[in-house]
Subunit: 339 residues, 4 copies
């Protein structure tokens, strides 16, 4: 198994994993509102199982379950009193490792935005938080770093600068819209800033539906400075979820936009990652293990006893499906409260 950059340089399509905190919240192991990853220590078997599902669905990279695992965030949340960040970060590295998982994937050590940055914008303090996490990861065997879920490019750039001191490959993904980051810097400028800070791979993640993600990434793609873009889309809202058929379309569009590292974020479950793997099976040359339990485009419906169900066993049916909400008393679009 080669290095992530070698693989991307060789033209390989790299499939990422899905959203861990949101899924583990639904399973009962993460507290919504806090979103901290202490389950890596408290319930390792639950974290372990979710890694295994993403691996089975075709993920080439597993991200450590270390979202919001900076010391300041853990302290602020107040729901982790007897476990240190170091314990979580180290346990999470072990959980993502292949020896547990009976499969092989690269492991990316992940850091994310800190409350400290919003509080005081103190570069030294924020960087020391990232440095501490990086050192903990380096005690374990991780393959590269990802700085993810940053709303301000300045903080993301600081994270990249710290992580680059490790000598390892560093990717950085921001949760920004086509209008730019929270400071108003357009996507293209954010990307340039991250590359200048040392990022080898840049991308977007979360807060956006796939179409908006790809539109945002287009702001990245026009620039010559960076070779690789990662796309991690989100579908996390209540009662809103992408179908596997939506993800086929998303994976194809991302591929056609030139993106070669494609994964998911909040709301992506194993069947979404499998859909990426299945859509790009020709380009990748293989199907993931989980496809043994999946008829492509509903093929397993061909033997249904009811003719109108058998009629669904083909791609055209699912591609043209307009899924109903089942909620006629609800709107189809909400008004964002911050508008």
């Amino acid at each position: 198994m080669q290095d992530i950059l070698e693989r991307l340089n060789a033209g390989e399509v790299v499939v990422g994993d899905g959203g861990m905190v949101l899924q583990l919240e639904r399973r009962g192991y993460v507290k919504a509102g806090h979103w901290t990853p202490e389950a890596a220590v408290q319930h390792p078997e639950a974290v372990h199982q979710l890694h295994r599902e993403f691996l089975r669905a075709g993920a080439d990279v597993l991200q450590t379950f270390t979202f919001y695992c900076s010391e300041d965030k853990l302290e602020l949340s107040g729901n982790v009193t007897d476990i240190t960040g170091a314990e979580i970060n180290e346990a999470a590295c072990d959980l993502a490792r292949e020896k547990w998982l009976k499969g092989s994937a690269l492991v990316a050590g992940c850091v994310s935005q800190t409350p400290c940055y919003l509080g005081n914008h103190n570069e030294a303090e924020v960087k020391s938080l990232f440095k501490k996490q990086m050192d903990e990861f380096l005690k374990k065997d991780i393959d590269f770093f990802i700085a993810e879920f940053f709303q301000y490019v300045e903080e993301a750039a600081w994270a990249v600068e710290v992580l680059k001191t490790s000598g390892k490959t560093v990717g950085a993904t921001m949760c920004i819209s086509p209008h730019g980051d929270m400071s108003g810097l357009p996507p293209g400028d954010c990307a340039v800033r991250l590359v200048k800070a040392g990022a080898d791979i840049v991308g977007v993640n979360c807060h956006l539906d796939p179409t908006a993600c790809i539109q945002t990434v287009n702001g990245y793609m026009g620039l010559p400075e960076f070779p690789f873009v990662v796309l991690l889309s989100s579908l996390s809202l209540i009662c809103r979820s992408l179908t596997r058929w939506d993800v086929h379309k998303y994976a194809r569009e991302a591929y056609e936009a030139g993106i070669r590292y494609i994964g998911g974020c909040c709301g992506f479950e194993a069947y979404h990652i499998r859909a990426i793997s299945e859509e790009l099976r020709a380009e990748r040359g293989f199907l993931p293990p989980a496809s043994e339990k999946h008829g492509l485009w509903g093929a397993a419906l061909e033997m249904h006893t009811k003719p109108w169900v058998r009629a669904r066993a083909h791609r055209e049916y699912w591609e043209s499906l307009l899924p109903a909400s089942g909620r006629p008393k609800c709107p189809s679009m909400a008004t964002p409260e911050y508008e």
Copy 2:
């Protein structure tokens, strides 16, 4: 831990588990269209983890992962060539047992409708399929039986008659609408037939949203013949899922309708079962373990940095929420193809 009937007789509210085949399909272990449970042998850790989630969410009963595990159905599906039904049924009993799960719940051995019934309506043949499954369960340590997911009351009654020969408590739940079963028999008549066949507990499951489930059960409740009703609601369709707040409402309505065994079916995940447990915490006297990772009614949002998110940390907000589909080009209701 008492017997299920003792607990119901004592007035206890019994919480069931959620939907296993649908959830394990999403995780990559069950094939949609076939819906057979060979993962109990092939991927026991995945089945085991899902049991653990439901247990942690407050389930008092775990159903064995043996849906559609009659020999005729396994053979018809064609995707289980080297594993016998006996192997699956026996493995599934072990997986639902508490020694694995570090918790305690009653284990219900489950049988479901057979292709054989639809094919030839041969009572002896259908009953021998149920008898074989029952004997496999009885090699293991299960607490009682559930016959579930029957569309015809005749077949359900045959299953009950077989299972009662074990001497154990038998529950039976049908997937029927307020209009009755597929032969047109109204819910109340179905219930009488099941009770006459020997069922100790009767109920409905699947194919219906909660409101319709409760309406159907009302067809059961008016009759004096049977003491206990189980309610297993479903929310399985693409892009349609109940919110945890919907489930609070559903659990309360079911309780007020006099139902004392309340669980979920296809689409119910751990957070739905937890919502049942949380809604009925006063009646049951305790919260489930998973509630340590859940602020009731969004309480964990109270410390959010953004004021409009903090404003959501109360019950009124979530109860009055009309979740948007995010799909303005889709309808809110679909036209059933069989109409």
Copy 3:
């Protein structure tokens, strides 16, 4: 021009007119909330023009613009201080007559439910209100009577009993649902009661969408006592209107259900009545005058400059159209406040 009963007996399809009070409210001549018809005196040219539109659209019967024109209702509304009911009723008869309209249609003198009935249920008093209106109509030249918009069958039957004393044909339409009238009497029983009171034609009008109207009328149709049924559908709510294509479907379904007097109620405009006439052009043997300004099924789009508009010039396009609301932040169904 024959009598209405002769025409119906001869198998003719009789087309009714549309909704006058609602349309004249939009045009500025009727006060919403009161819905009284003083415009017959105050703005005869506006009433006259609307009659002319319905006539031109194919109406065989024009109803006098005398909705809610009982003395008690006029007094209660308080917005008609210097005009008597007699003046309105008489003016309305003239306005519906063909000498003004340059066309020919039967004129039906109309009475509707009274506040008096709800107030005291005094048969003598309610009947005297209907008697007074009837006498005013009989001073003018009307062809037959319609008692319309009754929520209680008892009051409708009283109206029929009074109107029958004139020796003229009497029709009666109630605004009831498939569940029956406001006293809970099922549609079929309402119809029998009306026929026993002397009604020659019975029907339903208003408060219902076309599908529910036809479903309600089915409650009427099974009975042998009455030969003729009139169907007046409604589409009056804010932002809800039937398309002309919906009305094609409605007219066909009504015809196939055996109904031979088909019109509209609140919300039906001239183009809806024209759609009834156009759908039933083969059965009636002619098109109405207004069809000179209408390409059937969008035929006039055939010469549009844009190809995607030309592609709409055929029946299949319009029949399969699912019209969007354009309001993604609104629900598709509302919750009735009286539930």
Copy 4:
């Protein structure tokens, strides 16, 4: 009654009229797809009545019913064989005159885009079509000119240049989006071009919902060259109509954006124009005649027999109403076919 420019210069709010061709199509006098105004000759009483409704609703300006009345368009439509454009234009001027209408309003002679422009872009030919119409209007007594419904600014500017030779005031409104006209010229540039051609008043009309109209006009407003802006919004699509409450909001927003000539386009009926008049009653100092038949904000519901209807008799209820479509099987947004 002063000149339109004197009134606007004096700070008066001028209310326009609504959409004539669309409304007369519904009434049976205009052919959809052709949209030509031969009804001015064929059915003057219908045109006359609609003018009267707009006047009664508070319109200060009535536009002649001469949409698409250039000779080339009339010939192309093929549905006007025995009537000349001159006959229509002259009849239309008479119909909009106050002597018929028993009220007073300014009369604007209107020209609109020509098929000739799209066909050959021949300036001399297109201008001669406008010149012919202008000369016909000048035989009658009109107050000023409006060039309306132009998709290309070049053709609109040609129309203005011709009309200015009359010495009369000229307004020009284009049906363009915030992205500009069909040639891609932004709204502000379109406006400058029109003003340079001699337009005294510029504006937008049709093809847009009110919010987009105001957004487009903002592209006009920033420029110093022109003093007056007219806003004619549209709501013409099947099953989409603005409520009177939507129009209150639209009128207020237009007023606050500095617009002082506010009317409607396709789909605006008398009750929409009345809503403009009612919203701006304080600014204008009076209510229109049609308000005698309208309780502001549902005031007439105060005396309804049902309490939940009485509860609607206030502004807050109607302002917060989210009108349901009543069509759960339809989407809320459509996909434009030309995308």
